[in-house]
Symmetry: C2
Subunit: 421 residues, 2 copies
């Protein structure tokens, strides 16, 4: 069978230039989150198929790369459906594995537990430009912290990281699932249709107020409810700076005042602490797709980038699915691939790179001389230099140009001694 | 279906304590190899199944985690064998993917190309203590360098890394496939039985001279050849310091003197340069399993550890399988998991860790005070401290003990103001 030079469909090779940016972003993430007391953990890339199909994955469960059973357990003749052939699959996110990890290791972990994960996930999406079937996620989560300290720390750590990477003028959009629900209840939607209402609301950015109204009515909701619902959002337009207070005022008894105070405290503390130029904005149209969120939800919007560049929220009911005992949980997933893409596109320069020297050695150089050259290289490396030791090519000009392109600024040539007659 | 708390069979969760060591080892590896001009690259964890089955994987090809075809391509009813159901699999090493990567991207890469890869690989081995089905490999390779500069740089970079991690008194054992072959030819073995002879020779450590002789004869070789072969090794016992010269002398015309000079030059240059306490030893019993090696082969032996802790060699014929054009290639794979294990077992302390402070906040603290505390934490973090902000637990003593265990040495308590009557 012929060998294929291309990566498997929808996946990509990462070349040195991009890899340097990725490594730099990872190092900033690791250092910054460590300063906030997050500890790095890792789970296997492969998970039991039942865990991956636990419903917490939403639409992603349709995109699993499934791994075949092996040896005697694989019975092709008797297999009737996919599930007879598979026992595991590649993870499609880092949340389901984290919850399993926590259930498995809780006794050895501090409480609350602050986790940092960085690693690849896989989704068998239809291949398209700029989206790959293997991509990195970077998640921070706090498990076992019921108070809004969790939200404040997650958002502050993430915005600090973005600031260190040179991002400015971005927004943290923040909302609460319970405010979303209170607004829907106030408008008179039936509780079992809330999720449907939120899916339509989520399109506000794309289809506008009128579009949302149309879709709500088309989905069978009353015009009265649709109008009352949309009036909440139009009312907000005049309350740029006190939107949360305004909404709470209109909702009255539909919204527990503790929920409003809790969210308000998060916004105040995040704004007070900020180590980067950004705004924290209450956004009652923010929905976040996953149904497992139970409280605060948030998203990063970077102006250079259409759409979200990361987000997260509180999911207090998911750990209980594994352990039988609910554990408060809150997480933030940074859009690692999007951040790398933005830095690459903007020609980001990594600060404080090593000085780079190239040693070029003529072919046939004497053994003793070679050892001396290697010692010289070793000494420069001890001083912190990056030293490339390479053979001298026949086309020296071309070789030098290529090395300059790789960032080498100093060159040293070593020739063999002229042969004596 | 019940959710499983355990990782999938044979794989493991990595907890914060081990992860800190892993991250530290990775950072030392990245920094050191960068100083030698190696550039970091990454390939997808998933490879086309035909590439994985290309024979370069040896026995590992029996241990592939295979991924099922998806959608219409999966036809369970018509499938007769495994290959009808799968189109890809998880990589079992980093060498096959590297060669594919090089074939795919050669035009964008410098010549020679010095690659560093660190990442997980998977093998469906029988689960056993201390061996896992997902584990990290760390490979450095130089493609396009025909001279022994490749071997010298690979070995020097690797020993420098080991030195920085605190390893001492280890050995680099080095041999040459062409010396192995010359020795077998000299003893009179038939050329098509060389690989069989080497597999037996490879057991020398375990079964000794007499055992090797017995197995050779049992495999159908003449006693004469077996005796002549083993005499080479007994002869060596009296040539600790000039083993290579001795063997070359005995082999005479069976061994091209360039091959001896080449190996000798590598040993001399590595010994001259060394940035760690180790010995470079010519070991004519060293075989290395993979049949793709064509020249120099080497292995790290760390005394605390039975067996090899990494190794590699020259494989000049593999790239040609993909590109149709042979490219000189030489690589070194460090035993990443073994190194981490040794450091963990020896209670390795990571140098220069951040100072760690814990802020403990009583429940119900005032919003304004909370913002002030978060600002204080942010300022300390700016100064380089690691600051954990956490709620104060009811059992303060227990909480403090647990934080001390995590390395927190300073504590600051924040109480809510007493309520006024």
């Amino acid at each position: 069978m012929a060998l294929s030079k291309k990566p498997t469909t929808g996946m990509k090779d990462i070349l040195p230039q991009e890899m340097r940016i990725r490594d730099y972003v990872i190092s900033v993430i690791q250092d910054t989150y460590a300063q906030f007391g997050f500890t790095h953990i890792e789970t296997p890339c492969v998970e039991n198929i039942n865990n991956l199909n636990c419903k917490a994955g939403g639409e992603n469960e349709k995109l699993i790369f499934k791994i075949m059973k092996r040896g005697e357990k694989l019975n092709i003749n008797e297999a009737k459906e996919e599930n007879d052939l598979t026992d595991s699959g590649l993870r499609y996110d880092l949340t389901v594995p984290l919850v399993r990890f926590y259930s498995n290791n809780q006794a050895s972990l501090p409480a609350p537990f602050k986790a940092l994960q960085i690693g690849p996930v896989w989704r068998a999406d239809r291949p398209q430009r700029g989206r790959y079937r293997q991509f990195y996620q970077c998640d921070i989560d706090i498990l076992g912290e019921p108070s809004n300290l969790a939200e404040i720390e997650l958002i502050t750590a993430t915005t600090t990281t973005l600031g260190k990477l040179g991002f400015k003028n971005f927004e943290i959009r923040i909302n609460e699932r319970r405010i979303l629900k209170a607004m829907a209840a106030y408008a008179g939607f039936a509780e079992d249709s809330f999720d449907e209402v939120f899916i339509i609301l989520d399109k506000m950015d794309k289809i506008g107020m009128e579009g949302v109204r149309e879709e709500l009515v088309k989905a069978g909701h009353t015009e009265e409810s649709a109008d009352k619902y949309l009036a909440l959002f139009t009312g907000l337009n005049e309350h740029d700076n006190d939107g949360l207070e305004y909404i709470a005022g209109v909702l009255g008894e539909y919204l527990d005042s503790d929920i409003k105070d809790n969210l308000s405290e998060i916004i105040t503390a995040v704004e007070a602490t900020k180590a980067a130029e950004f705004k924290t904005v209450f956004d009652p149209t923010l929905v976040r797709g996953m149904s497992y969120y139970t409280g605060t939800i948030f998203e990063i919007a970077i102006p250079e980038f259409g759409g979200s560049c990361g987000g997260g929220g509180r999911y207090d009911k998911m750990v209980g699915q594994f352990t039988g005992q609910d554990t408060p949980a809150c997480g933030f997933s940074i859009g690692f691939e999007r951040i790398v893409l933005l830095l690459l596109e903007n020609g980001f320069e990594i600060p404080g790179d090593n000085k780079k020297i190239a040693f070029l050695i003529e072919k046939g150089i004497d053994s003793k001389r070679l050892s001396e050259i290697m010692i010289e290289a070793a000494n420069l490396r001890k001083e912190g230099y990056q030293v490339l030791v390479s053979r001298m090519n026949k086309n020296k000009k071309f070789q030098r140009a290529s090395l300059e392109e790789q960032g080498y600024t100093e060159f040293k040539d070593f020739y063999r001694e002229a042969l004596k007659n």
